[in-house]
Amino acid sequence: MTERLVGLPVSSPLLTIAMVILVAALLLALVRIVRGPTIPDRVIALDLTASLVVGLLLLLGAVLQLLAIVDIAIVLALIAFLGTVAFASLIERRTRE
């Protein structure tokens, strides 16, 4: 596992295709972030973007056979969830005042 840090080990080409599809989805979500008419639109697009990046990291961990990347993905998902909750409470509190 350690002697093969750069070259990709043998894995299914479907994993690579899945990563390409995830990048395409990432671009679509970015379009919604730029365009989104309201702030909640942008926040939900940001949430989907974060989970797309998490999926990319997980697939990268599967291709590179590195378990540490899965840890990074879990931490990123946690931070994205906290960010979404914080945005939601910010939006709600701003309407209350």
Partner: protein, 133 residues
């Protein structure tokens, strides 16, 4: 064989997340966009987590995958619920013929009431937890 199974899992998961992104881009209403992103996105990420866990194969990896999928199953609905509630309270109206939530949120305390009774009497007595999504 296992490579084919994990590849198909990852492929279908990525396809579901692409569907979520397309729905996020194409749906006409914020709540429909949120539903597309939350539901299809959750199933997609769960399939990808399963593919990664099976590909790595070790006990530690499977445990990581199990905990990660549990985490996604817990947090994604909560985030969508909070965001939908905040969006409804901030004045975004859903594209429906009849808005059944109209007038049921207390304007000051943001508490949701189930009946059509005036919202200003005894807050918090018989409210129910429902998302506006």
């Amino acid at each position: 064989m296992i490579a084919l199974v994990t590849g198909l899992l990852a492929f279908s998961g990525a396809l579901l997340m692409l569907i979520a992104a397309v729905g996020l881009l194409r749906m006409p209403d914020f709540y429909m966009r949120m539903q597309a992103a939350a539901k299809a996105g959750t199933l997609g990420i769960l399939l990808i987590v399963a593919a990664t866990g099976i590909t790595l194969g070790s006990l530690s990896a499977l445990l990581h995958a199990f905990l990660a999928s549990l985490f996604f199953l817990l947090t994604t609905p909560i985030a969508a619920h909070l965001l939908g509630r905040a969006a409804y309270l901030s004045g975004i109206r859903p594209m429906v013929l009849e808005d059944e939530l109209a007038g049921r949120y207390h304007p000051a305390t943001h508490e949701l009431r189930s009946s059509n009774a005036p919202a200003a009497s005894t807050p918090g007595s018989d409210r129910i937890e429902e998302t506006p999504a």
